[in-house]
């Protein structure tokens, strides 16, 4: 009887271990299933797969389009740069044109400047020669040259613009500028920096002193706004 009982005890121990292992295994599998959620049916899986494939395809096309977009953007940028460069060139050209037109006297010019008046000296009975107190064309020359040298953008005599091909001729009692006679007093207006121009004219031993030596009445005014009309008929 004892032997049989011992046998049964050992068998029940074995059964206990078996049940234990079984239960743990069952439990573990249950947990695993919950974690991985592999209770997906076939149709669901197929649907997921097709959706995933679609998504991947979409992403690929997106990437391709993105690449194309950046490429196009680069092209656009390049073109914009070119255009900007061209525009720059054009504006500089336009500025140059404006400047050259100004020098040629083809446009109306407005700006700060100086106004110089040369008038004949008063009659002096002690002087025999009338020429000694008249304004001659070389006086006008001197003044105009001095103005140009010191940076005048445009010069006019009695309102008549001087151009690069202007000529000043002494013609008896008058001075002819480009064929137009001008009597004294001569008003020479110049556009440029007034300070620079006036100091250039007033240089001691310069143009002004020479003119004063020749008994010419010389006046210099700084003007805030001088308007020079273009050359007529050009």
């Amino acid at each position: 009887m004892m032997k049989v009982k011992g046998k049964h005890v050992i068998l029940s121990m074995v059964c206990l271990v078996l049940g234990f292992i079984l239960a743990i295994s069952y439990h573990l599998t249950q947990i695993e299933n919950q974690q991985t959620k592999q209770d997906m049916t076939d149709s669901q899986y197929k649907k997921t797969l097709s959706l995933r494939n679609e998504l991947i395809a979409q992403e690929e096309t997106n990437r391709k389009l993105q690449k194309e977009l950046s490429q196009r953007q680069n092209e656009v940028q390049k073109k914009e740069k070119e255009l900007a460069k061209e525009a720059e060139n054009f504006t500089s050209l336009a500025k140059d044109t404006e400047k050259y037109r100004m020098y040629l006297g083809k446009v109306k010019v407005k700006g700060k400047g100086v106004k110089i008046t040369l008038a004949d000296g008063a009659y002096d009975p002690q002087e025999d020669n009338v020429n000694n107190y008249l304004v001659h064309e070389h006086h006008v020359f001197n003044v105009v040259n001095e103005l140009y040298i010191s940076g005048a953008a445009a010069v006019a005599i009695n309102g008549q613009r001087l151009t690069s091909s202007s000529y000043i001729v002494c013609n008896g009692p008058v001075i002819t500028v480009d064929g137009v006679p001008h009597p004294a007093p001569f008003v020479i207006s110049a556009i440029g920096d007034p300070d620079v121009l006036s100091s250039a004219i007033n240089l001691s031993g310069g143009v002004k002193d020479q003119l004063v030596n020749d008994n010419i009445v010389f006046t210099l005014e700084k003007e805030n706004e001088i308007v020079l009309n273009p050359v007529l008929g050009s």
């Binding site: 046998k7 049964h8 005890v9 050992i10 068998l11 029940s12 121990m13 074995v14 059964c15 206990l16 271990v17 078996l18 049940g19 234990f20 292992i21 079984l22 239960a23 743990i24 295994s25 069952y26 439990h27 573990l28 599998t29 695993e32």
Partner: protein, 120 residues
């Protein structure tokens, strides 16, 4: 006679109640161990019915088979060969054979009992 059944139920209840967590990578070994335990159990029942039951063989076989199967699976994982399939195959075949033998023995016993009853 009821003691082994009581032990089995107690083991199942104990296993369900204790929240023992085994890492995922060891769950394979556990399944193999379960298979080995089943195989040994049915082998023991068959041997008992054939009257060649030896307690030492049964108990040592039970634990040794569990450990062997687990270590085989372990080796397989580390060698990169699915060796646990060999264990599954071997134990599965033996399980079916054992159950078949048990069924036949029980059938013959049942039929002889019936004949005896008819004779008496």
């Amino acid at each position: 006679m009821w003691l082994p059944v009581v032990g089995l139920i107690a083991g199942i209840v104990l296993g369900l109640l204790t929240e023992i967590r085994i890492p995922d990578e060891y769950s394979n070994y556990l399944s193999i161990a379960v298979l080995a335990a089943f195989d040994t159990l049915f082998g023991g029942i068959r041997a008992y019915l054939q009257n060649i039951y030896d307690e030492k063989v049964f108990v040592s076989g039970f634990f040794f088979n569990i450990i062997l199967a687990a270590s085989l699976a372990f080796l397989g994982v580390h060698l990169g060969v699915d060796l646990y399939l060999a264990a599954v195959f071997a134990f599965g075949v033996r399980l079916f054979q054992n159950i078949a033998v048990i069924r036949r023995i029980l059938l013959t016993k049942w039929s002889t009992n019936k004949e005896k009853l008819e004779k008496s």
